[in-house]
C-alpha cells in the first residue's frame, strides 16, 4: 500500500493555453483572464497553474492592463 503522500494520483501539469493553442492573450478578454487570478485578485503563479513561461508572461501583462481598465480587480474588497 502506498503511503499517504504517494497515494494521491499524480497528474502532470500542463499549460492550458498551449493546450487551447492560444496565440496571444488579450487584456480585453477578462473572462479568460479571470481563470488566472485568485479570488483575492492575485495572479496565480506558474507553479500552481502550470502555465508555460511564454503564456505566463502574456497573462501578467494582460492582467495588469485589465486592472487599469477596471475589468479585473486589483484586490478583493470583501476582506477590507
Amino acid at each position: 500500500m502506498a503511503r499517504d503522500g504517494e497515494s494521491r494520483s499524480f497528474r502532470r501539469k500542463f499549460c492550458k493555453l498551449c493546450f487551447d493553442k492560444v496565440e496571444r492573450i488579450d487584456y480585453k478578454d477578462d473572462r479568460r483572464l479571470s481563470r488566472f487570478i485568485t479570488d483575492r485578485g492575485k495572479i496565480v503563479p506558474r507553479r500552481i497553474s502550470g502555465t508555460c513561461a511564454r503564456h505566463q508572461a502574456q497573462i501578467t501583462e494582460a492582467v495588469k492592463r485589465a486592472r487599469i481598465l477596471a475589468l479585473l480587480p486589483f484586490t478583493s474588497d470583501q476582506y477590507r
Binding site: E23, R65, R67, L69
Partner: protein, 137 residues
C-alpha cells in the same frame, strides 16, 4: 505610424449625444494629424471591477487607430483634463505574430486550392476525354 489601441472609460451618466461628441473628440484629432481610425467599438455601460471616483459603472469606448507618436502624449493630456473620463489606457496594438500570418496565408492558400480543385473537377467532368491529351511526356 504605429497601430494603437485606446480604451477610455467615461462617466456612466452621459447621454448618447454626449458620448458621440466625446468619440468625435477622440477620432477627429487622429484624422487631422494624418492618422487613421481603424475601428471604434462601444462596449456600453459596464460594471467596474472596483470603484473609480465613487462610480460603480463606466461607459467604455475602444478605438483602434494609426497615429503619429506625437499625438499619443497629447491625447493622454486631454484625457486627464477631461473631467468625464474616469480612466484611459493606450497601448501599442500587438503585431501580427509570424505564425498567425503564416496560418492566415496557409488558410488562404487552402481555400484557393480548394476552389481550384473544384474548378478542375468541374472541367474534367465536363471533358474527360480531352484531359488525357494534356498528359506530359
Amino acid at each position: 505610424m504605429k497601430l494603437y489601441e485606446t480604451t477610455v472609460i467615461f462617466e456612466p451618466g452621459l447621454e448618447e449625444a454626449r458620448i458621440n461628441e466625446e468619440v468625435e473628440r477622440i477620432t477627429q484629432p487622429i484624422t487631422q494629424a494624418g492618422g487613421e481610425v481603424v475601428d471604434v467599438q462601444r462596449w456600453g455601460k459596464k460594471k467596474l471591477a472596483y470603484n473609480i471616483r465613487k462610480r460603480r459603472d463606466g461607459t467604455y469606448i475602444h478605438v483602434k487607430h494609426k497615429s503619429p507618436a506625437t499625438l499619443i502624449g497629447e491625447m493622454d493630456r486631454r484625457f486627464r483634463l477631461n473631467e468625464s473620463v474616469l480612466r484611459h489606457l493606450t497601448i501599442l496594438a500587438p503585431k501580427e505574430s509570424p505564425r498567425a500570418i503564416e496560418e492566415a496565408a496557409k488558410a488562404e492558400e487552402a481555400a484557393k486550392a480548394e476552389s481550384a480543385s473544384k474548378a478542375a473537377a468541374a472541367t474534367t467532368e465536363a471533358a474527360t476525354e480531352p484531359a488525357g491529351e494534356a498528359t506530359p511526356e
